[in-house]
């Protein structure tokens, strides 16, 4: 038992060191800009379409649910406001992060894991290349740039989906919908919605890189690290989302 706890603590310490070094690597030479661009292309441009599709349907579903509920209370005109707040503050960032985690996080873990198994990481080390700078930093950097971008696009598409349902299915005024969206695009909402994806991007990429680089054994080890990368990332996204929300509400002076 105590051995297990010790192991857990030392793993946690290794994770902190890796993610810290990976993060400060962004500001230290050498810069592997080609690797960063490659990662951005794969992670960002590659996830673009999925995030759009997922967000569109989530926006529509949310709008359907809320219009139905609000209509029965006679408060249809609030649909835009409620849909907008949920998407911008909560649903948009989390949805994009979960999609990103499933697609990119799993990919990072399995790619780095197979590089470990094939001794490619050892090769890098004997060539005098720091694997953290070469492999981890570009992935962290591209994630904290691309996930916020994806989130913004996802938010916009989800709001459009919500608009479609509100206007064409629930027969509300499009003008009211958009003007209530415009009202809620104030500093508080935009800030609390846009700080999250940075955090999520960092968590997903650092957890996935850590899992990949600590892969042991063959195909089975790879399966384990890929699964762990996704599972731990999801758990951390949800938990940190809650904590961030709590902190942000406090900081922005909302009373509960």
């Amino acid at each position: 038992m105590s051995i297990k706890i010790k192991k857990l603590l030392s793993d946690l310490q290794d994770y902190y060191i890796l993610s810290f070094k990976g993060l400060i690597g962004i500001f230290r030479k050498p810069f592997y800009s080609k690797d960063v661009l490659d990662q951005m292309d794969y992670a960002g441009a590659g996830s673009f379409l999925i995030v759009m599709i997922v967000s569109l349907f989530i926006g529509m579903a949310l709008s359907l649910q809320l219009s139905a509920e609000l209509a029965s209370l006679g408060l249809k005109m609030y649909t835009g406001k409620v849909v907008g707040i949920s998407i911008i503050r909560e649903v948009g960032p989390v949805t994009a992060a979960l999609v990103y985690c499933g697609r990119v996080g799993a990919g990072m873990a399995s790619e780095l894991g197979s590089m470990i198994i094939g001794h490619q990481v050892d090769s890098l080390r004997v060539f005098g290349v720091d694997p953290i700078k070469k492999l981890v930093t570009p992935r962290i950097l591209s994630s904290i740039v691309m996930l916020p971008a994806l989130t913004i696009i996802g938010d916009a598409v989800a709001l459009l989906g919500g608009y479609y349902i509100a206007v064409f299915v629930s027969h509300q005024s499009g003008y009211v919908y958009w003007s209530s969206i415009r009202d809620i695009l104030d500093f508080e909402n935009v800030f609390s919605g846009s700080i999250k994806p940075f955090m999520f991007g960092f968590l997903i990429s650092s957890i996935s890189c850590y899992m990949g680089l600590t892969t042991k054994g063959g195909a089975k080890g790879l399966r384990k690290s890929t699964t762990n990368a996704v599972v731990f990332s999801i758990i951390m996204i949800i938990i940190s989302d809650f904590m961030l929300t709590r902190i942000l509400l406090y900081l922005l002076g909302f009373s509960l």
């Binding site: 490619q120 050892d122 080390r125 004997v126 060539f127 005098g128």
Partner: protein
Amino acid sequence: MIVFEKVSFSYSENLILNNISFKIGEGEKVAILGGSGGGKTTILKLIVGLLKPDSGRIIIDGVDITDLEEDELMEVRRKFSIVFQDGALFDSLNVKENVAFCLREYTNMTEKEIDEKVDELLTIVGVEHAKYYMTDELSGGMHRRVAIARSLAVSKPKMFLYDEATTGLDPVNALNICNLINELSKNGTGHIIVTHRVIDALRVADRFIFLKDGQIVLDGDRSILLSSNISDVMIFLSELKQIS
């Protein structure tokens, strides 16, 4: 230039090297022999600091590398050029980019110079036709050769380390690689070749270290190896006698 002082190493509970000591001088041509799982690869990884010994000291060119940090090891690693057992080519890059890796990393060569240098290195190992292949399109022997070409791009190593450079190759290719190894070490560069093929060891080395059960049971030149009466060594040698 390489000194092992009472080095022990284990993977979790599994003792791999037990209190091993040896010295390898600059320019020496050494073969490390021994059965599968005997810890030969482990020794190479200890030399370049990829693994840390449980106890004992490893000294490279007068520097004790046992407690060095990863970034302090860079200097030490640049003295070596290592070819891993499975080649360990970067599978996201094609052959040309694999060979060009160190050139891009450490030199300011122009694209044209890199291209010429890559051609030159690939010609040395005889796979110039595979320049634009991806690594999964290479046969085992080609893989090995490209790995050697890539390691040659390291500028002026003091010692080449080859892990099973000839294992699993046909006799002609094995001979070619042995000739290549000798060719590369002609001007005083040393090499350590790890192998369980005695024939190849005899072709390229003049000192032989035999590992068994985590210990060195034999360390000497050709005549000591050939006249050894240690049973495991004799089994390895019987392969030779059957041929001749």
